[in-house]
Amino acid sequence: IQDDHKLSTSELEEKYGTSIDKGLSSSRAAEILARDGPNSLTPPKATPEIVKLLKQMVGGFSILLWIGAVFSWISFGIQLAQGAESPFDNLYLGVVLALVVILTGIFAYYQEAKSTNIMASFSKMIPQHALVIRDAEKKELPADQLVVGDIVEIKGGDRIPADIRLIFTQGCKVDNSSLTGESEPQSRSCDFTHENPLETRNIAFYSTTCVEGTATGIVINTGDRTVIGRIASLASGVGNEKTPIAIEIEHFVYLVAGVAISIGVLFFIISVSLRYKILDSIIFLIGIIVANVPEGLLATVTVSLSLTAKRMAKKNCLVKNLEAVETLGSTSIICSDKTGTLTQNRMTVAHLWFDNQIYSADTSEDQTTQPFDQSSPTWTALSKIVTLCNRAEFRPGQENLPIMKRVVVGDASETALLKFAEVILGDVMNIRARNKKVAEIPFNSTNKFQLSIHETDDTDDKRFLLVMKGAPERILERCSTIMINGKEEPLDSEKAEAFQTAYMELGGMGERVLGFCHLYLPENEFPDTYPFDTDSMNFPTSNLCFVGLLSMIDPPRSTVPDAVSKCRSAGIKVIMVTGDHPITAKAIAKSVGIISATSETVEDIAKRLNIPVEQVDRREATAAVVNGMELKDMTLQQLDDILCNHSEIVFARTSPQQKLVIVEGCQRQGAVVAVTGDGVNDSPALKKADIGIAMGIAGSDAAKNAADMVLLDDNFASIVTGVEEGRLIFDNLKKTIAYTLTKNIAELCPFLIYIIASIPMPIGTITILFIDLGTDIIPSVALAYEKAESDIMNRRPRNKKKDRLVNEQLAVYSYLQIGIMQSVGAFVTYFTVYAEQGFLPSTLLGVRVNWENNAINDFEDSYGQEWTKYQRTYLQWTGYTAFFVSITIQQVADLIIRKTRRNSIFQQGLFRNKVIWVGIFSQIGIALILTYGLGHVTALNFTPLRFQYWFVAVPFAILIWVYDEVRKLFIRRYPGSWWDKNMYY
């Protein structure tokens, strides 16, 4: 911890070997630069691209496929050594599995890289420059070239380029919000005011901005050694949690693996007891395990997630990490920033008080007029003061921009007043030109007012107009009259009372209130040539005429209240965490609905009942406004109590570290927490959160790096879209998985029956791959486009522990009900084909050994015909094709039933999701191409199937549909029944 703030200028010069007038010499600066490195925050250790790519290829699903691939290769090795007939099938299978993982990995990597690039384009701002004194010359240098000991000059609007000990200031104010979250500008001076270097006024910190004034200072810390640099490095210490969807997928992988291994072991035992050779049994075991691997699912899930990510990006939610797409959907608590996220991040005039009446102003983002009553002459007088007693100006060259979007030079309040006047009166600059300013006293903290004297544009009136604005109580003190309906009336106690009431009311709304007064200077005392002197104040500053009050606030974004109420109905708790004052925070919270109109805090209750706060039953208060100071002294237990017992919470005056504590507190409640933030100081909390949401416009690079998602428009309402999309994708992934798992049984059963009943192999490995990675891919992705079945924003966030992505019901229904039906349908086709070709089902049982014997070339069928080995193999392929075709046909039905989990298909609409139809047509199209187009390519094991065999499975497809409609009907009819509990997935 440094004590630079305590040192005198000369001590500083000595310490850093610099001179205030001459600065460092270039050579000395170069030396220090070489020693300390550039003045920039080291970006968090970037994962090498190749590692990112490889990470996409391991973990979760990919593991399952890798295991499958390795098993296939083992199997291949054994079979090759055995000299089995087609060992290469297993080699190919392994290769395909590996390819799927690799290609999907590359795809996911590419998707995420794309988002990262979009972000990178945001952060590539114009390189910062700093005005530095070196070699006794002022030089403009890139900010990262600064070194300790450099003398830098700063003016209003600049970003502070390093930690700086100030040695000269003039009206300097800094906005420390990026450091502390506090949005109120703080004044800076050269004086040592506080032991704590963070609190003292004579240090300005890296990454904060100078709002107004000028300053010169010595650089005392650069780069990572700055205060902000140290906070940023905190973030790297916070571990990244697994995303909820990753947990779900892991759970799914365990489930599939469990099923695979149990069936595998069971059939291993069966095949051993059926006197298969041990090695053959092992091949079967591996085959069964591999057959359970849903080859296509990894790709489907990845594509579905990236489709959603794309959709969200369109709605200004940029997802950095594909899995985070769903996280927002499971979010149960959002810890939101106030400034910029919930509010517009600019002061705007919200209320006026004149003629004893409060008027509301329009605070929306795109105001072009103000609707309040402007007919009173008092307003005319007030508007004149607002216009003239104001030093803010528009930057030139913005005439074509909407007023609210124009850039203004001046502080926040003056900017608000300027824009307010411009909206109502039109060209303010012109009005000011016509009312020439002859004298001015700018605002300072001792006077707490601002004053200027103008000639008026009224040619008949030669009097000067003195206008003044400032802290209302100070202004009132200087007034003896008050203007009511254009007439000056004496300011009696009754009117003063009315003023107090209005002032309290506006202040109570968390608004910054300014008072306005004026005085026409008598012509005889103050002629044209009167020499106004602002130092001696040779003009009256008391007995003025009070005109009115204006109050300003950083108003909520107009979309936020709606978004908050949507979150509320979606069961998501919105907690405001801000560095601002409790009153302002509470006012904004109330106006956006974070604290609802009817709920009260402990303090509110105390006030209403007129009892001390301690006597209030804390359980009665649904809302709570917690001050950072209180939070500091709280135990974790107390924090948990607050988080548990209050549904509406605002944390005000919190520090960045406390934000982390709050997030951890929420996570202790088992909540999935989303955190929004923009500053470097937010990055630890962003990282700690289940989903960190950084602001795209206002956000710092550190925040964006730590976040999982970036809001491109900084708008809270975009989060709601994200929640909706996240929930939808969770539902739709369920459907996709259910769809995909179903046919796994129809692919596995043939193998099992082949082992037990020794029938000719009903479906081949390659054929299965063509289903899993061919016909089924587009349909399963199409399910990602399915619309929600009911209003997903009206239900509570899913329970992490109970609402699994793949639950028992889903597995049982898919595997054992629809899956078995599908298998039966496919087997019926298989037996039909064999029977029509000559082998009645009874002749097929136990036929395996002879069937596969190369030495039998006159194998007799049920009709006495004789078959060579190749003819049998060809028939077997025809069987594969038939099996394939009937699975495809039944998957069409499966696809249709998976559109909904509860509603009837007719409620959902068969044609609303057009992509489903693309899926169905692609499915059938691919099957047609494989069967008839590639039916002559022997390596693929397809044959041009007789057309009628396509229809054998149709009744089963219809059965599947009807069965599922009945299932859904009973679920809707008897909610909570046994049926509902066991059949709803």
Binding site: N857, E860, Y863, G864, Q865, K869
Partner: protein
């Protein structure tokens, strides 16, 4: 499909190797032939009728016993020198072995388009010396009256017609590759995938 008797399969298809001076090596082959021909004794063929026509034996009605169709008799004596009657060792010890060629049954298949299909055996590849073969019955034909086949139920006593081939000039101690094709319209033997369609290929090696 075309098959061969005796049929001994090695790693790559049919391989018939034996040593003339070691009767253990060919007794098995002879037994296979004898057993195979046991279904062609007059007693075994007694349910079948004598056919004389040299055309397809088309039956639209069920004239046989128990509503079946009639089948033509094929007896082993039609194979003359290879019948096992005159030479019970089928020429194996002399190094002039007999093989029996048979076509797979296919229901309603009419081979040859009116001309009886015949067996033609040659060396595979370019052999300077032609393969000398005796075919039984004469010309190595399958008489048309054995076709078409109407299926197991319609013709329960049907037996495939056979052609025996006797190789006369087999070089000793050399592995020879021989192919016997069925020549006839509608019978193809150029399916690359199916080595047994319209032909049967085998390796023969006679040692002494």
């Amino acid at each position: 499909g075309v098959t061969l008797r005796p049929d001994v399969y090695g790693d790559r298809g049919l391989q018939i190797y034996y040593n003339v001076s070691d009767n253990k090596t060919w007794e098995g082959l002879v037994t296979t032939l004898r057993n195979y021909l046991s279904a062609y004794t007059p007693a075994a063929q007694r349910l079948n009728i004598n056919c004389t026509g040299d055309t397809y034996f088309i039956q639209d009605t069920f004239d046989g016993p128990n509503k079946t169709k009639l089948s033509c008799k094929f007896t082993s004596d039609m194979l003359q020198n290879c019948s096992g009657i005159t030479d019970p060792t089928f020429g194996f010890p002399e190094g002039k072995p007999c093989f029996i060629i048979k076509m797979n049954r296919i229901i309603k298949f009419l081979p040859g388009n009116g001309t009886a299909p015949r067996v033609d055996c040659t060396y595979v590849g370019d052999k300077s010396r032609p393969l000398e073969v005796d075919y039984y019955p004469v010309n190595g034909t399958f008489n048309l009256h054995y076709f078409p086949y109407y299926g197991k139920k319609a013709q329960p006593s049907y037996s495939n017609p056979l052609v025996a081939v006797k190789f006369l000039n087999i070089t000793r101690n050399v592995e020879l590759k021989i192919v016997c094709r069925i020549i006839g319209a509608g019978i193809t033997f150029d399916n690359v995938h199916d080595p047994y369609e319209g032909k049967v290929e085998f390796k023969l090696k006679i040692e002494d």
